[in-house]
């Protein structure tokens, strides 16, 4: 009844807006859900809502590239591909074929922190979805032929996303330079040589350790009956044995003492780019929301300070972005700017620091805070808009914060954003000794180069 609950709330929100009442006066909507731990440790979150004849299943495994060891980078993501190559009762390719052939959609995705699998299907296919997910958690087919095939697909993915793209190396170079902790230093996609080194034995060991029910969370949202669905989940999953907990990830690293800097040549790029990363505390820190507000003030849309000053007034860049990813360990507040043709890189870099100094020195306008609040409200709406976004939000919040109901406290949290907090974190973390700068310079390729803009 999630969305119905919000509907009832809405008139109150409108009245509040019309009368100028503060946002805090609005009652926060409540997402109802059940949260159960099976005997084998699998956490099961179910949120029932009959608004459309559709459900989504999301499985989050607590394993990402941060769990990889030296010499096996890219393994968590390569493994994600293996999950589609069959299990005891499901043939290679049959998982995705079955879902699409029955009108559903699915995918999987890996980052440093976790691996997520999901499917959305018409409401009458819940058993099929649970069967498919349970069968591969229980009995993945680990054979060399499948590994070689998906190793190729992943290497093409690396080429498609990184090696054949302008600026493809920049993110990877940034993490390698900015972090001193192996778990976070290497890229998710991994190196070609490490991908080549992955063996069937690696796959089997990884599966046993990390794809155990006690290392996973399943969230189901949409047109389902909560009690009946929990019974079905038990039937499909509860007999899969738990395993000893995976080793804890070492997330510590020595403090950074001075600026780090690197220039990368890029034969595919046509314009220079500057990437700046500031080390900031993990997503679990009390300042997590404040960093989102800070990036919004700096780089949110065309009224953000970077666009207004650097792109529009000074015309030093085509675009400037800022972002802070989710991480339970080290992470960066990243800034990325593409140089406008005919301008100087050092001027662009100076202009970025000048806007950061502007935030530290103040003032921050009320309008900037209001904007950040409204952006957060719309993101919140976005997470409620489909069964998939709701199930993903709840499953990932359960993983990161231990709390699938965190979605219900977001409104309360966002009413607390303050300019003083934004300035405090900017002064503390956005300082020269805490940053890494990666410059990408277009370098014409060999003799066959045909010119073009610089």
């Amino acid at each position: 009844m999630v969305r119905a609950a919000i509907h009832r709330l809405f008139p109150a929100a409108v009245i509040a807006a019309l009368t100028g009442a503060s946002l805090a006066a609005v009652t926060a909507p409540t997402v109802k859900f059940t949260d159960t731990k099976l005997n084998n440790g699998l956490r099961v979150i179910i949120s029932e809502d009959h608004v459309a004849p559709v459900f989504s299943v999301v499985l989050v495994y607590n394993v990402g590239s941060r769990d990889e060891r030296i010499g096996r980078t890219g393994f968590a993501h390569l493994f994600e591909h293996m999950m589609f190559k069959g299990s005891d009762n499901v043939g290679p390719g049959e998982h995705f074929y079955t879902i699409f052939a029955n009108g559903g959609t699915m995918n999987g995705t890996t980052n440093k922190e976790r691996t997520v699998y999901f499917e959305t299907m018409p409401a009458n296919q819940l058993d099929a979805a649970l069967f498919l997910e349970a069968d591969r958690m229980r009995s993945l087919a680990i054979i060399k032929e499948n590994l070689d095939n998906q190793r190729n697909a992943v290497q093409e993915e690396r080429r498609l996303r990184l090696d054949n793209q302008p600026y493809g190396r920049a993110d990877e170079a940034m993490d390698e330079l900015a972090f001193d902790n192996f778990a976070y230093k290497h890229s998710v996609i991994g190196s070609m040589s490490d991908l080549n080194a992955a063996s069937v034995e690696d796959v089997a060991a990884f599966f046993k350790t990390y794809y155990a029910p006690n290392n996973a969370i399943i969230a189901i949202a949409g047109d389902v009956n909560s009690a009946a669905t929990l019974e079905r989940v038990r039937r499909h999953f509860e007999s899969i044995p738990s395993q000893p907990s995976p080793p804890a990830v070492e997330i510590g690293q020595p403090a950074q003492d001075k600026e780090r800097r690197l220039t990368v040549d890029d034969p595919l790029a046509r314009l220079a780019r500057i990437d700046i990363g500031y080390r900031i505390p993990s997503s679990l820190s009390a300042d997590n929301d404040t960093f989102d507000v800070l990036t919004e003030i700096l780089a949110g849309g065309r009224s953000g300070r970077f666009y207004e000053h650097i792109v529009r007034e000074k015309q030093l860049a085509l675009s400037v972005r800022a972002f802070a990813g989710n991480s339970r360990g080290p992470r960066l507040l990243g800034i990325e700017a593409t140089l406008a043709p005919g301008t100087a890189l050092d001027k662009l870099e100076e202009a970025i620091y000048s806007d950061i100094d502007g935030v530290k020195a103040g003032p921050i306008a009320d309008a900037e805070i209001e904007k950040a609040r409204n952006v957060t409200r719309r993101r919140f709406m976005g997470s409620l808009a489909t069964s998939l976004s709701l199930a993903r939000t709840m499953a990932e919040d359960a993983l990161y914060y231990g709390d699938p109901g965190r979605i219900n406290t977001r409104w309360e949290r966002l009413s607390k954003f303050s300019a003083a907090d934004v300035q405090r974190v900017a002064r503390e973390y956005l300082i020269p000794g805490n940053r890494t700068v990666v410059i990408t310079q277009p370098r014409p390729a060999g003799g066959a180069a045909t010119g073009g803009a610089r």
Partner: protein, 527 residues
């Protein structure tokens, strides 16, 4: 318009088909996001693809198919029923100035999204000597009105966390679109109307835009998929305006404020336009707001007829190569001019496309990726419009398999022409297309797009109600006949982008190749 939902690419390269301005860019956490097992490219399989075991009772006999890309054990407990769904009804109204209004009420969340289509203001209407003018006009409409500066517009929108875009790409229509919390709906429509009706095109903003766009045009030439799409559309559409997927530097240099003012005056007219709104709004509210803000949009004295010409048929197959030094992959687009959206062959080609390359179920994906490991994805698409559009297959493969990958891709096209599709494969494709309709009920925007497709192409009122019936009626004979006609060898245009020192020579073994550089300049192929 297919009801099939494509996987969303996590980091797919942006191909700037249209010049547009994204007012509010919500940046999703992304620095470490790698991506998905499947991406924007999706695709298909193989000839002798025998599939079986639709139901659990018939599984055992075909546990092996001739391609290693897919093995069906047939044990998954699927329901054989296809859910009957009922699409919600839209309300419709017309303002005195001819503006049509469509409303899809959806009160689940306090937000709205709208699209205002303005036929006659799209890139097809560019003057012959000013390719890109429609797109320039659309983008610059947001850059100031007599009462609001560019910065004021940005601030006003973004404090509401609202979006407002004006775009005019390679099509007959311009699109004004936006979204916001429903408490801000009236403010957003007011702003959109100001931008639509009273753009002032300040000289200073035109100058900034030219400077900025110069860089963007340079940037996109670094992208292999852009270069391939540009060459393919020229190969398939020739002199037709559909051949242009972006503006030229020369047209940008010539751009003057007066041109923008004149294009806007002559092409932004209400009598063929439609305003479609989905979300937390009623028809009554929508009409009141639209009449108040857009009622004064003056109707032209005479109705403006708009003809979209057909592109000239392309009679011969050709191969094009764009040399991109340093490329580590070879990018292919292979396809042909196909059909208009209202063609009686439309449903047949949709089903054929689903089988050949419509997603991970398709033969191209199962063959080129799952069996051969040449690529991260391979897929095909049917693009049918007012005029004859195109069908195309595309993929990116590592450079050293350039030749076998192209041979396999062409072999798939030969197979669909020469070998009837299997019963099970056909049934699966149809089922996928029909059953996925249930998913659109979660998305008001998707439902609105179905309605706009019906409006745009003047399809019958019961078009979507009868969709399942039409798809189910498609036969394997019709598919083969359509493949023979539209995917005939002598119609195919083959576009390849890759490293000139390694990817060209394998192609030249297959036939003559026209060679270009990344700036679109023809290079002598004989040297």
């Amino acid at each position: 318009m297919t009801p099939y939902r494509r996987c969303v690419p996590s980091l797919a390269p942006l191909i700037p088909h249209v010049v547009s301005v994204v007012v509010l860019c919500i940046v999703f956490a992304s620095i470490s996001y790698v991506g998905s097992a499947f991406s924007r490219t999706e695709a298909p399989d193989f000839v002798t693809f025998v599939m079986s075991g639709l139901s659990r009772t018939v599984n055992a006999q075909d546990t092996q198919s001739p391609t290693q890309g897919l093995v069906r054990k047939g044990k998954v407990p699927v329901s054989n029923e296809i859910l009957k769904i009922k699409l919600p009804k839209l309300s419709e109204a017309t303002l005195p100035n001819g503006l049509r209004i469509l409303v899809l009420e959806d009160h689940r969340l306090p937000q709205i999204a709208f699209q205002l289509l303005v036929p006659g203001a799209g890139g097809y209407l560019d003057p012959a000597d000013q390719p890109g003018l429609a797109g320039f006009t659309a983008t610059l409409m947001r850059e100031g009105t007599p009462t609001r500066t560019s910065s004021q517009i940005a601030r006003e929108l973004e404090i509401m966390a609202a979006t407002l875009n004006v775009s005019a790409g390679s099509s007959p229509e311009a699109i004004v679109s936006g979204s916001c919390l429903s408490e801000h709906a009236a403010r957003l429509i007011d702003l959109a109307a100001d931008v639509l009706l009273h753009p002032s095109f300040p000289d200073e903003e035109v100058a900034r835009f030219k400077q900025r766009t110069r860089g963007t045009l340079a940037q996109q030439r670094a992208n292999a998929n852009f270069l391939a799409a540009e060459m393919f559309s020229q190969a398939v559409y020739g002199e037709h305006p559909a051949a242009r997927i972006g503006p030229t530097q020369a047209a940008l240099d010539r751009l003057k404020r007066d041109d923008l003012v004149e294009f806007h005056r002559a092409h932004y007219l209400p009598d063929r336009a439609v305003l479609a709104i989905a979300g937390d709004v009623s028809m009554l509210q929508a009409r009141l707001v639209a009449q108040a803000k857009l009622g004064g949009w003056a109707k032209p004295a005479a109705s403006t007829a708009m003809l979209v010409p057909e592109p000239a048929p392309v009679e011969t197959s050709k191969m094009y190569f764009v040399g991109r030094p340093g490329s580590v992959q070879t990018t292919f687009i292979v396809g042909s001019q196909a059909i208009e959206r209202t063609s009686p062959d439309y449903d047949v080609l949709e089903v054929m496309n689903k089988i050949v390359g419509g997603g991970p179920m398709g033969r191209l994906f199962l063959h080129l990726r799952e069996e051969k490991g040449y690529t991260y994805g391979a897929s095909s698409a049917l693009d049918a419009r007012q005029h004859r559009g195109d069908w195309s297959a595309s993929t990116n493969v590592r450079t050293d398999v350039t030749e076998p990958a192209l041979r396999d891709l062409l072999e798939e096209l030969r197979q669909i022409r020469e070998v009837p599709v299997g019963d099970q494969e056909l049934a699966d494709a149809k089922r996928s297309m029909i059953a996925s309709f249930a998913l659109s009920l979660e998305s008001p925007a998707q439902l609105l797009n179905l309605a706009l497709t019906q409006w745009r192409y003047k399809l019958p009122a019961d078009y979507w109600e009868r969709y399942a019936e039409r798809v189910m009626a498609v036969t394997k004979e019709q598919i083969q006949a359509a493949a023979r006609q539209y995917l005939a060898q002598d119609r195919l245009q083959i576009v390849v982008v890759g490293d000139p020192t390694r990817a060209l020579e394998p192609l030249q073994k297959l036939g003559p190749v026209d060679v270009y550089d990344t700036n679109g300049q023809r290079i002598d192929a004989r040297k």
